[in-house]
Protein backbone atom coordinates (compact mmCIF):
# COMPACT_ATOMS: atom_id res chain seq x y z
CA UNK A 1 0.00 0.00 0.00
CA UNK A 2 1.51 3.27 -1.05
CA UNK A 3 1.22 6.38 1.07
CA UNK A 4 -0.61 9.34 -0.40
CA UNK A 5 1.99 12.01 -1.25
CA UNK A 6 1.64 15.06 0.96
CA UNK A 7 0.53 18.21 -0.80
CA UNK A 8 3.36 20.68 -0.96
CA UNK A 9 1.97 23.78 0.74
CA UNK A 10 3.98 26.70 1.99
CA UNK A 11 3.00 29.26 4.55
CA UNK A 12 3.79 32.82 3.51
CA UNK A 13 3.91 35.75 5.91
CA UNK A 14 3.94 39.37 4.87
CA UNK A 15 3.71 42.63 6.80
CA UNK A 16 1.08 44.75 5.07
CA UNK A 17 -0.90 47.86 5.97
CA UNK A 18 -4.25 47.26 7.68
CA UNK A 19 -6.10 48.43 4.57
CA UNK A 20 -4.32 45.86 2.40
CA UNK A 21 -5.13 43.12 4.87
CA UNK A 22 -8.80 44.16 4.81
CA UNK A 23 -8.82 44.32 1.01
CA UNK A 24 -7.32 40.85 0.65
CA UNK A 25 -9.81 39.36 3.07
CA UNK A 26 -12.75 41.18 1.47
CA UNK A 27 -11.70 39.93 -1.97
CA UNK A 28 -11.39 36.40 -0.61
CA UNK A 29 -14.84 36.61 1.01
CA UNK A 30 -16.46 38.06 -2.08
CA UNK A 31 -14.96 35.88 -4.78
CA UNK A 32 -13.34 32.86 -3.15
CA UNK A 33 -15.56 31.93 -0.21
CA UNK A 34 -13.02 33.31 2.22
CA UNK A 35 -10.02 31.37 0.92
CA UNK A 36 -7.24 33.96 1.12
CA UNK A 37 -4.69 31.84 -0.73
CA UNK A 38 -7.01 31.60 -3.75
CA UNK A 39 -7.49 35.37 -3.78
CA UNK A 40 -3.76 36.04 -3.56
CA UNK A 41 -2.83 33.37 -6.11
CA UNK A 42 -5.39 34.61 -8.62
CA UNK A 43 -4.34 38.23 -8.14
CA UNK A 44 -0.73 37.24 -8.74
CA UNK A 45 -1.59 35.17 -11.82
CA UNK A 46 -3.54 38.10 -13.22
CA UNK A 47 -0.59 40.40 -12.57
CA UNK A 48 1.72 38.00 -14.40
CA UNK A 49 -0.72 37.83 -17.29
CA UNK A 50 -0.47 41.61 -17.57
CA UNK A 51 3.33 41.48 -17.31
CA UNK A 52 3.50 38.79 -19.99
CA UNK A 53 1.29 40.84 -22.32
CA UNK A 54 3.49 43.91 -21.77
CA UNK A 55 6.62 41.85 -22.46
CA UNK A 56 5.10 40.93 -25.81
CA UNK A 57 4.58 44.58 -26.65
CA UNK A 58 0.83 44.58 -25.90
CA UNK A 59 -1.21 47.01 -23.85
CA UNK A 60 -3.78 45.90 -21.29
CA UNK A 61 -6.85 48.12 -21.27
CA UNK A 62 -10.51 48.01 -20.29
CA UNK A 63 -13.05 48.54 -23.06
CA UNK A 64 -16.67 47.80 -23.91
CA UNK A 65 -17.28 44.42 -25.55
CA UNK A 66 -18.52 46.00 -28.77
CA UNK A 67 -15.32 48.03 -29.06
CA UNK A 68 -13.04 44.98 -29.04
CA UNK A 69 -10.72 44.63 -32.03
CA UNK A 70 -10.94 41.59 -34.25
CA UNK A 71 -8.11 39.83 -32.46
CA UNK A 72 -7.82 40.21 -28.76
CA UNK A 73 -6.80 38.29 -25.66
CA UNK A 74 -8.36 38.35 -22.26
CA UNK A 75 -7.33 36.52 -19.09
CA UNK A 76 -9.42 33.74 -17.63
CA UNK A 77 -9.62 34.65 -13.96
CA UNK A 78 -11.05 32.09 -11.56
CA UNK A 79 -14.00 33.42 -9.60
CA UNK A 80 -14.77 36.23 -12.05
CA UNK A 81 -16.44 34.32 -14.86
CA UNK A 82 -19.93 35.42 -13.85
CA UNK A 83 -19.13 39.02 -12.91
CA UNK A 84 -20.79 41.48 -15.28
CA UNK A 85 -22.99 38.79 -16.73
CA UNK A 86 -26.60 38.05 -15.96
CA UNK A 87 -27.38 38.16 -12.24
CA UNK A 88 -29.58 35.44 -10.83
CA UNK A 89 -30.58 36.95 -7.49
CA UNK A 90 -30.34 40.64 -8.30
CA UNK A 91 -32.78 42.76 -10.26
CA UNK A 92 -33.01 46.34 -11.46
CA UNK A 93 -35.87 48.42 -10.12
CA UNK A 94 -37.72 51.44 -11.31
CA UNK A 95 -36.63 53.79 -8.53
CA UNK A 96 -36.63 57.58 -8.68
CA UNK A 97 -32.95 58.00 -7.83
CA UNK A 98 -31.31 54.67 -7.01
CA UNK A 99 -29.68 52.78 -9.85
CA UNK A 100 -28.01 49.91 -8.01
CA UNK A 101 -29.51 46.40 -8.15
CA UNK A 102 -31.82 44.91 -5.53
CA UNK A 103 -32.32 41.46 -4.06
CA UNK A 104 -35.05 39.78 -6.07
CA UNK A 105 -38.39 39.82 -4.22
CA UNK A 106 -37.08 41.86 -1.31
CA UNK A 107 -36.82 45.55 -0.53
CA UNK A 108 -33.08 45.31 0.10
CA UNK A 109 -30.53 47.03 -2.13
CA UNK A 110 -27.59 44.78 -2.95
CA UNK A 111 -25.10 47.36 -1.74
CA UNK A 112 -26.91 47.76 1.59
CA UNK A 113 -26.78 44.03 2.19
CA UNK A 114 -23.10 43.75 1.33
CA UNK A 115 -22.30 46.80 3.44
CA UNK A 116 -24.18 45.51 6.49
CA UNK A 117 -22.38 42.17 6.24
CA UNK A 118 -19.03 43.98 6.06
CA UNK A 119 -19.83 46.28 8.99
CA UNK A 120 -20.88 43.36 11.17
CA UNK A 121 -18.02 41.13 10.01
CA UNK A 122 -20.49 38.49 8.88
CA UNK A 123 -19.71 35.70 6.45
CA UNK A 124 -22.12 35.22 3.54
CA UNK A 125 -23.70 32.40 5.53
CA UNK A 126 -24.16 34.68 8.56
CA UNK A 127 -25.74 37.43 6.46
CA UNK A 128 -28.01 34.92 4.73
CA UNK A 129 -29.21 33.74 8.13
CA UNK A 130 -29.66 37.29 9.45
CA UNK A 131 -31.82 38.38 6.51
CA UNK A 132 -33.40 35.02 5.72
CA UNK A 133 -31.87 34.87 2.26
CA UNK A 134 -30.17 32.14 0.22
CA UNK A 135 -26.38 32.20 0.64
CA UNK A 136 -26.05 32.50 -3.14
CA UNK A 137 -28.04 35.75 -3.07
CA UNK A 138 -25.66 37.22 -0.50
CA UNK A 139 -22.58 36.09 -2.43
CA UNK A 140 -23.98 37.62 -5.58
CA UNK A 141 -24.76 40.88 -3.77
CA UNK A 142 -21.18 40.95 -2.46
CA UNK A 143 -19.76 40.37 -5.95
CA UNK A 144 -22.01 43.07 -7.33
CA UNK A 145 -20.96 45.46 -4.55
CA UNK A 146 -17.35 45.03 -5.66
CA UNK A 147 -18.04 45.80 -9.31
CA UNK A 148 -20.52 48.63 -8.59
CA UNK A 149 -18.54 50.12 -5.70
CA UNK A 150 -18.60 53.72 -6.96
CA UNK A 151 -22.32 53.70 -7.73
CA UNK A 152 -23.14 52.26 -4.30
CA UNK A 153 -20.87 54.76 -2.58
CA UNK A 154 -22.62 57.60 -4.43
CA UNK A 155 -26.04 56.38 -3.33
CA UNK A 156 -24.85 55.98 0.26
CA UNK A 157 -23.59 59.55 0.08
CA UNK A 158 -27.02 60.78 -0.99
CA UNK A 159 -28.61 59.13 2.03
CA UNK A 160 -25.83 60.38 4.28
CA UNK A 161 -26.30 63.99 3.19
CA UNK A 162 -30.02 63.79 3.97
CA UNK A 163 -29.55 61.98 7.30
CA UNK A 164 -26.88 64.37 8.53
CA UNK A 165 -29.44 67.18 8.45
CA UNK A 166 -31.22 65.39 11.30
CA UNK A 167 -28.27 64.75 13.59
CA UNK A 168 -29.07 66.34 16.93
CA UNK A 169 -26.90 68.91 18.64
CA UNK A 170 -25.48 66.59 21.28
CA UNK A 171 -24.35 69.00 23.93
CA UNK A 172 -27.78 69.37 25.55
CA UNK A 173 -28.66 65.66 25.19
CA UNK A 174 -25.71 64.02 26.90
Amino acid sequence: MSATPRKSRHRLFADVPEATDAQVRQTARTFYRGVVSDAVTTALETFHWVVDARMRGKRVIATDADMLPGTYEEPVIAGLESVGQQWTWLVARDHPWRRQLWIKGRNIAAGDLARTAAIEGWTAEDAAHEFDLPVEAVLEAQRYAEVARDLIAAEEAENRIVAQRYEPELAHLR
Binding site: W97, G105, R106, N107, I108, A109, D112, L113, R115, T116, A118, I119, E120, H129, E130, F131, D132, E156, A157, E158, N159, R160, V162, A163, Q164, Y166, E167, P168, L170, L173, R174
Partner: protein
Protein backbone atom coordinates in the same frame (compact mmCIF):
# COMPACT_ATOMS: atom_id res chain seq x y z
CA UNK B 1 -40.54 52.43 21.80
CA UNK B 2 -42.73 50.90 19.14
CA UNK B 3 -40.59 50.54 16.03
CA UNK B 4 -41.06 49.40 12.45
CA UNK B 5 -37.65 48.26 11.20
CA UNK B 6 -37.29 48.76 7.47
CA UNK B 7 -36.41 45.61 5.54
CA UNK B 8 -32.94 46.80 4.49
CA UNK B 9 -32.03 47.29 8.14
CA UNK B 10 -33.91 44.39 9.70
CA UNK B 11 -31.22 41.83 10.50
CA UNK B 12 -32.27 39.13 12.93
CA UNK B 13 -29.63 40.39 15.32
CA UNK B 14 -30.91 43.98 15.35
CA UNK B 15 -34.50 42.91 15.88
CA UNK B 16 -33.44 40.59 18.71
CA UNK B 17 -31.37 43.32 20.40
CA UNK B 18 -34.19 45.84 20.20
CA UNK B 19 -36.69 43.38 21.58
CA UNK B 20 -34.43 42.30 24.41
CA UNK B 21 -34.08 45.99 25.34
CA UNK B 22 -37.86 46.10 25.73
CA UNK B 23 -38.85 47.78 22.47
CA UNK B 24 -41.86 46.59 20.51
CA UNK B 25 -40.57 45.72 17.07
CA UNK B 26 -42.79 45.20 14.04
CA UNK B 27 -41.50 42.74 11.46
CA UNK B 28 -40.82 44.34 8.06
CA UNK B 29 -43.25 43.84 5.22
CA UNK B 30 -41.12 41.92 2.75
CA UNK B 31 -40.70 43.19 -0.78
CA UNK B 32 -43.15 46.00 -0.12
CA UNK B 33 -42.70 49.53 -1.51
CA UNK B 34 -41.53 52.16 0.97
CA UNK B 35 -44.79 54.13 0.83
CA UNK B 36 -46.83 51.12 1.91
CA UNK B 37 -44.34 50.28 4.68
CA UNK B 38 -44.56 53.87 5.89
CA UNK B 39 -48.36 53.77 5.87
CA UNK B 40 -48.31 50.45 7.75
CA UNK B 41 -46.03 51.91 10.44
CA UNK B 42 -48.32 54.91 10.88
CA UNK B 43 -51.39 52.73 11.21
CA UNK B 44 -49.52 50.63 13.79
CA UNK B 45 -48.36 53.72 15.69
CA UNK B 46 -44.69 52.90 15.19
CA UNK B 47 -41.60 54.97 14.49
CA UNK B 48 -39.71 53.82 11.37
CA UNK B 49 -36.04 52.83 11.61
CA UNK B 50 -34.18 52.81 8.28
CA UNK B 51 -30.94 53.50 6.43
CA UNK B 52 -32.96 54.78 3.48
CA UNK B 53 -32.96 58.42 4.58
CA UNK B 54 -33.80 60.14 1.34
CA UNK B 55 -36.99 58.21 0.58
CA UNK B 56 -38.35 58.09 4.12
CA UNK B 57 -37.66 61.76 4.88
CA UNK B 58 -39.76 62.52 1.82
CA UNK B 59 -42.52 60.26 3.15
CA UNK B 60 -42.34 61.93 6.56
CA UNK B 61 -43.11 65.19 4.84
CA UNK B 62 -46.46 63.91 3.63
CA UNK B 63 -48.29 64.21 6.97
CA UNK B 64 -48.35 63.51 10.69
CA UNK B 65 -46.18 60.57 11.75
CA UNK B 66 -44.91 58.58 14.73
CA UNK B 67 -41.26 59.39 14.21
CA UNK B 68 -38.40 58.49 11.91
CA UNK B 69 -35.04 57.11 13.02
CA UNK B 70 -32.24 57.25 10.45
CA UNK B 71 -28.90 55.50 10.27
CA UNK B 72 -26.35 56.51 7.69
CA UNK B 73 -23.21 54.78 6.46
CA UNK B 74 -20.24 56.82 7.53
CA UNK B 75 -17.63 57.72 4.98
CA UNK B 76 -15.29 55.81 7.32
CA UNK B 77 -15.85 52.05 7.71
CA UNK B 78 -14.41 52.07 11.23
CA UNK B 79 -17.27 54.32 12.38
CA UNK B 80 -20.19 52.50 10.77
CA UNK B 81 -22.92 51.48 13.20
CA UNK B 82 -23.34 47.81 13.98
CA UNK B 83 -26.62 46.28 15.15
CA UNK B 84 -25.33 46.60 18.69
CA UNK B 85 -24.58 50.32 18.26
CA UNK B 86 -27.93 50.98 16.58
CA UNK B 87 -29.82 49.26 19.41
CA UNK B 88 -27.85 51.26 22.01
CA UNK B 89 -28.62 54.50 20.15
CA UNK B 90 -32.33 53.64 20.09
CA UNK B 91 -32.18 53.18 23.86
CA UNK B 92 -30.64 56.64 24.18
CA UNK B 93 -33.36 58.15 22.01
CA UNK B 94 -36.00 56.48 24.20
CA UNK B 95 -34.34 57.85 27.33
CA UNK B 96 -33.93 61.32 25.83
CA UNK B 97 -37.51 61.52 24.56
CA UNK B 98 -39.66 59.73 27.16
CA UNK B 99 -42.79 61.24 25.62
CA UNK B 100 -42.09 59.62 22.26
CA UNK B 101 -40.71 60.97 19.01
CA UNK B 102 -43.87 61.73 17.05
CA UNK B 103 -43.26 64.26 14.28
CA UNK B 104 -39.50 64.04 14.86
CA UNK B 105 -36.76 62.87 12.52
CA UNK B 106 -33.62 61.79 14.36
CA UNK B 107 -30.36 60.40 13.04
CA UNK B 108 -29.02 57.68 15.33
CA UNK B 109 -25.40 58.29 14.33
CA UNK B 110 -25.70 61.35 16.56
CA UNK B 111 -26.73 59.27 19.57
CA UNK B 112 -23.40 57.60 20.25
CA UNK B 113 -21.87 58.73 23.48
Amino acid sequence: MRIYVDEDTASGQLIARLRSAGHQVLEPLRGTPDARCWHHAQVEGAAVLTTNARDFVALAGTGAHHGLLLVYRENDPTRDMTAKAIAAAVDRVAATYPGGISEQILTLNGFRW
